[in-house]
Subunit: 462 residues, 2 copies
């Protein structure tokens, strides 16, 4: 008999139904006459309560093997549950221990474990409540991202991971190579990347934006959703060397349209996760961060404030408090500034736009004031910047001038410049770090706990 | 006024409606009294026909700029079209040339271009009919993959791209490094990977399977869909150094269930693409490969034959024809064998299962005959192997023995072995190369033309 999913049984199962449940034991409580076992299959936070009575064949032998972590298959009948908080429980008619878990050895015993410890057993932590909930939220958010864009006619485009373009001051790039590094060490020569796999030096991408622009100029509306990389030696709770990023690109779109899209996008994802993962969100709110549900409400029920960088600076200058980083027009907003605006002044999400050109990337469209560019950042209470975007510079002459000012050779950008030679159009896009979003939704404090197998300095285990 | 999508106008637009269309000119034909312009926005294969009459303000000036490749915005009224094959056309009331395209320079003039040439301008080829159709099919297939698994309760899991596990004889791995390679060249020493970013040697993944198994043992049903890599120096029409792979993993599942899943999966994807991209498939059938529509029919309307490897060998031995590679029990099936079975003998897709253990990976479950493993390959007419899968070896003792036989040290696999120590269950999964699937659906001959920016030996441009 095929397994029933526990999430379906708990929400829709009817007393009297005969079902088979397959999953892993979370807890077992032996009473005098029977044993209660909570079985979880990962489909939802809660397990189903299974009741094993003494009338079961092999009850004595079974009862000895009902260890936390063991895999079990149970056939039986659903019955109305007398226990609080569950509609039905499963009265076992036959039970099979599929795979045992030695209680002397299995690391995930009933007690709570620290997230630090769980990272050392990332191959087992999917079986815990917290990581289980994270992964379900992650899946719901990832799927929501696809649905949001697909419903609006955006194509999912797969931009390359391996790239030979060292994109706009991209900081720290990992090199991808097939050279014999042992031989290179002995060579007394600089590496000859012409002999490497791609015939030139290649890196892991830090952004799919430029390639997304290419696709946007043919399909009007596209988005990427894939892994990106930073070889940044930052051992913090907010940095990963490998993370997933979402980057939409819209042709015939200005900064206003970009802000509209970003706001609709965030609301869609929060709505979906609230709909599909309410039990998991309750769990985070109770156990991890008591602002989780409030934060979702704030996102869903507010129009995002829009304020120019210049006005934001004025608000910060007038603020009745001091900042560690002094405020003046031209500075990059620091976390304390962003949080003051989002959490104290507006008390809701806001979008700051038209930043000074000096602190933003040169592909961003120069405004008529020649001082600012059409950039925008979405700032939210509880996290600060969550989305960064811009209208792109589509005027060939302006872009060439900005490359020259930055001493960047045009020939490195020949194909990018071609886009603005032939059928150039105003267009805009944004970027969102997916793991930051999952942190924001769940309140998880460390980014290493919202991705299955984090890659960080000194760590590529599993 | 917001742009209307051309795909919507062509299918549902009503004469009399006032709309704005924004897109790129594919062709312009100047007649005496008016000009016909075909405008495409990438939302579908066909463009909309725009009629510019002499009564337009600036008609003379406009007419000179209606070049192939130029971006254009047109406001006007839909009218019933007298032309064959289109319901409506757009009578322009005002026209703006958004971005020109110098006809002396723009490489995509009206004539047909070879795919080889188009690869050299991969930044412009999304604007061609063929690449446009490929990318729409690619998007529809990719979305179908998510929908198929999500509807069945599978979680999308993001397995790592950077890995320190050199997985089962994975052949050619790219190294990912942050070492200073110039310095290494001068060092007269072997590279010290303990000083590298991850503290040990790291690679680009060739498969997410092992990590998917970890997740499957917590969530029961999971799948990966992400990039994978091979540093294989194969300059063929079927190999990419970077490609996307789909890998589901199902707990409490045997090889039979795995075959059921693979068959349902392929049918779902073909059905979706047939529903959503019928116009693009017609195009491929007409211009690229006249078997495209037949192939889709064959997939959709047949139960896949299931035949054991041993029976397949017997069929091949009895075949009334000779093969370049002689047939005997124990050989790996060659393309000619696979195609004979799929195209000549069964004339439909088939699944060959229970292969000799010697020619398959050691994580595949050993059958009771001790000679074969629970592996399966889906073979289809016109392409050969499209899916490869297996039930995994979940018995700790058997797996340890197979590692020992292969001289692989257990400590390299400590976390993988842990899975079978604690709550081990029968489970199975498969792998599908996404670009091979897109080739199969579209009939495109070269895999470099079904991914936006192919990575191959000597090529990481764009």
């Amino acid at each position: 008999m095929a397994s029933a999913r526990i999430v379906d049984l708990l929400s829709q199962g009817q007393p009297g139904q005969t079902v088979v449940v397959r999953g892993w034991i979370r807890t077992a409580r032996q009473l005098k006459e029977f044993t209660f076992v909570e079985v979880n299959d990962g489909s939802c936070l809660k397990g189903i309560q299974v009741v094993l009575g003494q009338e079961l064949a092999d009850y004595e032998m079974l009862a000895k093997q009902l260890d936390t972590g063991a895999a079990i298959a149970v056939e039986g009948q659903l019955v109305a549950s007398p226990a609080k908080g569950q509609r039905v429980e499963l009265q076992a008619a036959s039970v099979e221990i599929v795979g045992g878990a030695d209680p002397e050895q299995y690391p995930l015993q009933k007690k709570r474990h620290s997230f630090e410890f769980l990272r050392t057993i990332a191959h087992l932590r999917p079986r815990t409540n917290s990581l289980g909930a994270v992964m379900r939220v992650r899946n719901a958010a990832a799927t929501a991202i696809h649905d949001f864009f697909q419903e609006r006619g955006f194509l999912w485009v797969h931009t390359p991971i391996i790239t030979a373009s060292d994109c706009e001051g991209a900081g720290e790039l990992f090199t991808v190579t097939n050279l014999d590094l042992d031989k290179l060490g002995q060579s007394q020569q600089a590496p000859d990347f012409e002999q490497d796999f791609f015939g030139k030096r290649a890196y892991l991408t830090v952004s799919g934006q430029l390639e997304a622009e290419i696709m946007g100029l043919g399909f009007s509306n596209v988005y990427t959703f894939g892994p990106t990389f930073r070889a940044e030696n930052s051992n913090t709770s907010r940095h990963l060397a490998e993370f997933w990023m979402v980057e939409p690109e819209t042709a015939f779109c200005d900064l206003g349209g970009d802000m509209d899209l970003a706001e609709a996008f965030l609301k869609f994802v929060f709505q979906r996760v609230s709909d599909r993962c309410s039990e998991d969100l309750e769990f985070f709110n109770q156990r991890i961060d008591s602002e989780v549900l409030n934060r979702a409400e704030t996102i869903l029920n507010n129009d995002f404030e829009r304020v120019s960088y210049t006005d934001a600076i004025a608000l910060l200058e007038k603020a009745d408090r001091s900042f560690d980083y002094p405020v003046a027009w031209g500075i990059d907003l620091q976390s304390e500034h962003e949080r003051y605006l989002a959490e104290e002044y507006f008390r809701k999400p806001l979008i700051v736009y038209d930043y000074p050109r000096e602190i933003k990337a040169l592909y961003m469209r120069l405004n008529d004031d020649q001082k600012t560019v059409a950039a925008m950042d979405v700032l939210a209470p509880g996290i600060g910047e969550i989305i960064g975007g811009s209208q792109r510079e589509e005027r060939l002459g302006v872009l060439k001038q900005r490359l020259a000012e930055a001493n960047l050779p045009e020939e490195n950008y020949w194909w990018y410049l071609d886009l603005w030679r032939y059928g150039s159009v105003p267009h805009a896009g944004f970027g969102l770090g997916f793991e930051r979003l999952v942190q924001f939704i769940t309140g998880m404090g460390n980014i290493r706990d919202v991705i299955p197998f984090p890659r960080t300095p000194q760590n590529a285990e599993f």
